[in-house]
Symmetry: C2
Subunit: 190 residues, 2 copies
DNA sequence: GTCTATACAAAGATAGAC
DNA sequence: GTCTATCTTTGTATAGAC
């Protein structure tokens, strides 16, 4: 029933980064959480910097998969947009956790330069996906008032991240809903 | 020419929190920056928790003053909204610093409960101000398509914060502009 | 109000046995 | 792959002299 240690460490570290920030947890915390000694962690991730890179790598891969799943299951653009909004809301865990990318962004100075690049790539990937959705939404007329799909996508990612941040700041996921409600009003009804 | 030590410490600490996060700096950093020994800091702020409270208190006061100045100098709602957008952009310092409130929000678990309350109050203050601006903008017709001023205000603060975050993530203040451009298009021209 | 000196705990990391 | 043991540095904080 027990998954491998490396995965357990990544899971624990991701939870920690997203709730307390990269400088807010230690190898001792992970060791305690996973049930091994902290020296053993260095076998999997020689440095905390290496761990941060591994975290972003996995996060990017899993997020890409999630978007692909949305593409596969939601036919029209309005449904795809609603699904990604829901994805960000779920990721909040009721106001406890942020997107990994947001959490790491605030601690950028404690991280290796490689993570900056990973974050840029992660953001570019999402914005590209969103732009495609807005483009489709304009064509299908399932998303209203779309003038410039690329501009919409560039503005929407910060809105989602800001909505998470705001919800977390007050530990209330209702604030996330309030922040995205104007956007949702532009989606064609069911 | 030298301001008092307490103020110098607050300045240094605010810069540190906004660039590296609350867990990303130490009393040693402050001491080095201000030019005293770290033991001396405890005379002004007995604990780091106390420092965080003092930081948020001053930030709230200064932000209120900035909004009052905008009210005093900008007559119409579109100009006031443009001014607060500009305020957030300036606060970025070219992609280096976040709003103190955003930075502290991500480290909430390392902070005394009092700071959570201060952050909520700070956010409520800004949202109230924004709602008034949207309300005026709708009446004057200097901000387009305003259906619900309160909803607009609730969505705009996360957008501004998310725009800062996004710009900082890639150390590029142009991203801030891109994130708020759709909003700006709704303001009446000069 | 600032200093030196120090306490004490926690941090990231390494060496080497099993 | 995990352990014990240890190193070194850094963190927050205190005591007491000046």
């Amino acid at each position: 029933m027990q998954q491998d240690t490396r995965t357990a460490l990544l899971d624990s570290a991701e939870r920690a980064v997203r709730t307390r920030g990269f400088d807010g947890f230690s190898y001792a915390d992970l060791a305690n959480d996973v049930g091994i000694r902290k020296a053993s962690i260095h076998h999997h991730f020689p440095t905390k910097a290496a761990l941060s890179v591994a975290l972003m790598k996995r996060y990017h891969e899993e997020f890409s998969l999630a978007l692909a799943r949305i593409d596969a299951t939601s036919s029209s653009a309005n449904l795809r947009l609603a699904a990604v909004i829901e994805h960000y809301k779920t990721a909040l865990h009721g106001g406890k956790t942020l997107c990994l990318c947001v959490s790491l962004s605030t601690s950028l100075e404690s991280l290796p330069p490689e993570v900056s690049i990973q974050i840029s790539q992660f953001r570019a990937m999402i914005i590209e996906w969103l732009a495609k959705v807005f483009e489709d939404g304009a064509k299908q007329d399932t998303i209203r008032s779309v003038q410039n799909p690329s501009a919409e996508a560039t503005a929407m990612l910060p809105l989602l991240e800001g909505a998470q941040l705001a919800a977390r700041a007050q530990q209330d996921s209702g604030i996330f809903d309030a922040a995205v409600q104007l956007l949702k009003l532009r989606l064609a009804g069911p």
